[in-house]
């Protein structure tokens, strides 16, 4: 049976844009055909999860019912009262399916993976857990079953983000952009689509399909000497790291472009990450919708809690603990393997060092000019590349398999 994976080949774009054309024409003339949009989205989601992936389709349906009931119930509860433990419980239940899925491979629970797993579960969990947190804060006051579904199942971003925010999304979806604004969005959409083609179908192809197997092979060949350390490993680092960026950034551009065609301003995921001047700057440019999610829902809340309860005196201690906790959780979220966790720790410690350096720099008036800026960019880039080499698991293959 026909099964089409999002943004995988040119055919998909033709089908997608033809299907979205009536919607776009409507938006151009100031109308949003909500029902049509929902039907098209459902058809595309169905085609993603049918055929050999039917069990993922069932898992998605079960998962959505679970989140729907949970967020609804919590919103009803929050209107009456506001116990912290109920909030923690609801957050835990919201994250539970994802947690199980992440533990399953390490614990060999194959039945859990097949029963609950589907592509995109992480990104749906980020959305619903954020809703629970904002409901607790009183920022979201009502539960709209219909808008909840449209937010969670927003088709362009369902499988891998970018992660939108409920209140921002609703603002877009219940209105129609002015014609001038919509044309500007279409203009951006065209640009993003073509930039995405360049990234994903040309650069990521050259790096990932043509170069990567070659350099990996050479690294493994020379692995017998020096415990796997060889100059080829450096080539693997650059090729694999850049591949990661172009592949994912290309995908994200497609998702954003598609959502623009649908009159929704999905947030961007990347902002020239390799021009970051330090590690903190990097996380404000790399996979932004995820790092901002972690910043707003984990880091800031943890800091808030620790400061309010005065667990530690020094604000430096608080921020260091929060950095490491934040990045470790991100590492664990990627998966329970040593290299993901090490990657999280690497960035946690990296941010702590980065902060210490920034403080030192401010205190001692370290010279700052064009040259030091370029040097900072180069150093940051290489720190990031080393972390990606860890993240991509090639070292695991090299050392332990």
């Amino acid at each position: 049976m026909l099964n089409i994976q999002p943004y995988a080949d040119p055919k998909y774009f033709v089908i997608l844009l033809l299907a979205l054309a009536p919607l776009a024409i409507g938006l151009y003339f100031g109308k949003r055909f909500a029902l049509y949009e929902v039907i098209v989205s459902l058809v595309f989601i169905f085609l993603m999860f049918n055929g050999s992936k039917y069990h993922e389709g069932y898992a998605l349906v079960i998962y959505m019912i679970w989140q729907w009931l949970l967020v609804w119930a919590y919103t009803l509860y929050r209107k009456k009262s506001n116990n912290s433990w109920v909030f923690y419980g609801a957050t835990f239940l919201g994250a539970l399916p994802l947690v199980l899925i992440k533990i399953a491979p390490a614990a060999n629970w194959t039945h859990v993976s097949t029963l609950l797993g589907f592509m995109g579960i992480s990104y749906l969990t980020f959305r619903s857990v954020a809703m629970i947190m904002e409901t607790r804060d009183g920022s979201i006051k009502d539960f709209d079953p219909w808008l909840f579904l449209r937010f969670m199942l927003f088709m362009p971003a369902i499988s891998s983000g970018p992660i939108d925010r409920y209140r921002r999304f609703v603002k877009d979806i219940v209105t129609v952009p002015t014609r001038e604004k919509y044309v500007a969005m279409l203009e951006k959409a065209v640009w993003y689509f073509f930039l995405g083609f360049l990234y994903k179908f040309i650069l990521a192809y050259i790096l990932g399909t043509l170069l990567l197997p070659h350099v990996e092979h050479l690294t493994l060949l020379s692995a017998s000497a020096h415990h796997g350390w060889s100059w080829w490993l450096i080539a693997v680092m650059y090729v694999d790291g850049l591949y990661l960026f172009f592949d994912f950034a290309g995908y994200s551009l497609f998702a954003v472009a598609t959502s623009y065609v649908m009159g929704i301003e999905l947030p961007m995921n990347f902002n020239k990450p390799f021009l970051a001047k330090n590690l903190k700057d990097f996380w404000n440019r790399w996979h932004m919708s995820l790092s901002f999610w972690f910043r707003d829902y984990i880091f800031m809340r943890l800091v808030f809690l620790m400061m309010k309860k005065k667990w530690f005196k020094s604000r430096v201690t608080i921020s260091n603990i929060a950095y490491i906790a934040n990045m470790l959780i991100m590492g664990f979220w990627h998966g329970l393997t040593w290299y993901y966790i090490a990657y999280g720790l690497f960035h946690g410690v990296g941010l702590v060092i980065n902060d210490a350096w920034l403080r030192y720099k401010k205190k001692h008036n370290v010279p700052h000019n064009k040259f030091t800026e370029i040097l900072a960019i180069i150093i940051t880039f290489h720190v990031v590349m080393i972390s990606f080499l860890l993240f991509l698991g090639f070292l695991d293959k090299l050392w332990f398999q």
Binding site: Y28, E180, V183, A184, L186, E187, V190, F194
Partner: protein, 427 residues
């Protein structure tokens, strides 16, 4: 912001699509293949050459030089001084080898590749080097997907007038491969052939359109891969070859080079190969080939498909059967009896169908400097091969008399453990 209309946004996209459409559907050819391109491609071993149609068509229809397809696998890569390409070039013979093969190319890949070069095979000559290592029981066709070309599949589908047992066999084999199985377009068409159903006119129209697009893609990108082998390997080798095209002096020179390059081991393996590929694992490799068995394999049927294509095109073919390095085979425990049985099986398949041009070197793996490494012919081996190749190709095409027996496609033949008796009885 300046107010911009829809034309401003979509105009460039529209223009781009029109240009791309024009490029792909234009009825005239766009590429220009030079003599130098062909020469480079003939020794490039590039996957794109195995897969690509344009460069092969250009080579085999070349007016100034007669390129002869050499099918094989990794042995063709050993571009040393006595390699057939060097000899043909040095002595300006009336042919030049066009090497089609790489580590991992086996009969099925060659069969598909032949589909897009039928004019080059029709009543012409070819050389086919057979390696025993193709004929394994398991893990057959590991590299198939690397060499798979949809264009060749379309060529094959296009050429089917009536469905032969070979076509059905090939269809069945292709349907096992992920590249075909997972593509609804190809899976659908190939399933029809495997089910003995001719393609409809509608199918043929779609194939023609897809064919045109893929061919254009092939034309546009086939020259992208550049190979430096000609300048790096062929030209330097010219200097070492004796001035006269004479077997004795060739053998003398080959022995000299072979002797100088096999000093660091007792297997007669080339120094560099031994150093990088063998030395570190030499202990582990002792007796490592004890279980190897080349007698039962699907490859026998794939090979049969190749034979029937040669018969269909009346190609005059010389088959070269490569030996294995005898010292190495002894060290790794390769079963001799099994080895010769499998050689006999292939020879039976050839001779019983009228393929009588066979250069069988299977008994010469113990000769000095015959093998360059463990399984590939080198210095003296190439000189011995030339004793067959040179007269075969310089004399030119001889009419063929092949009679194909489709029973060689069956499981029964694939799984037959050959003995002298059952081979001669198999009909």
């Amino acid at each position: 912001m300046k107010k911009r209309g829809l034309w401003w946004v979509f105009g460039p996209v529209l223009v781009a699509f029109i240009l791309i459409g024009a490029l792909f559907l234009a009825p005239f050819s766009l590429n220009h293949t030079t003599q130098k391109n062909i020469q480079d491609a003939s020794v490039s071993f590039s996957k794109d050459v195995v897969k690509g149609q344009t460069i092969k068509t250009a080579a085999f229809s070349d007016k100034q030089m007669r390129y002869v397809p050499f099918f094989g696998s990794s042995e063709l890569l050993r571009l040393d001084t006595m390699h057939p390409t060097m000899l043909a070039e040095k002595y300006d013979r009336n042919y030049r080898p066009f090497l089609l093969g790489q580590a991992g190319t086996e009969s099925l890949t060659h069969y598909l590749s032949m589909q897009e070069m039928q004019p080059a095979l029709h009543k012409k000559q070819a050389v086919f080097v057979v390696s025993r290592q193709w004929f394994t029981k398991k893990q057959s066709k590991l590299a198939f997907s690397e060499f798979y070309s949809p264009l060749q599949t379309l060529n094959w589908l296009k050429s089917i007038q009536h469905i032969t047992p070979t076509d059905r066999y090939i269809a069945h084999e292709l349907l096992q491969e992920a590249r075909i199985k997972n593509s609804p377009f190809y899976a659908n068409l190939v399933t029809k052939i495997s089910g003995n159903k001719l393609l409809s006119n509608h199918d043929k129209k779609i194939i023609a359109l897809r064919y045109h697009t893929l061919l254009r893609e092939d034309q546009l990108f086939s020259n992208v891969t550049v190979s430096n082998n000609w300048n790096k390997k062929v030209i330097p080798a010219m200097k070492h070859l004796p001035e006269q095209d004479d077997e004795d002096s060739l053998l003398h020179e080959a022995t000299r080079i072979g002797k100088a390059q096999t000093t660091n081991n007792s297997f007669g393996i080339k120094n560099s190969f031994y150093k990088y590929r063998v030395k570190n694992n030499v202990k582990k490799l002792a007796n490592s080939q004890k279980q190897f068995d080349y007698r039962q394999s699907e490859e026998y049927a794939d090979f049969q498909a190749v034979l029937s294509e040669f018969a269909k095109q009346h190609t005059d073919v010389l088959f070269v059967i490569q030996p294995v390095n005898q010292k190495w085979a002894n060290y790794t425990g390769l079963n001799k009896e099994m080895y010769y049985q499998s050689v006999n099986k292939v020879k039976q398949q050839l001779t019983s169908q009228g393929f009588n041009n066979i250069a069988d070197f299977s008994h010469e793996g113990n000769k000095k400097y015959f093998m360059q490494d463990t399984i590939h012919m080198g210095w003296n081996g190439w000189v011995a091969a030339d004793r067959h190749i040179k007269p075969f190709l310089t004399d030119g095409y001889q009419p063929t008399n092949y009679h194909i027996n489709d029973r060689y496609l069956t499981r029964e033949w694939q799984n037959l453990i050959p003995t002298d008796d059952n081979l001669s009885e198999f009909k």
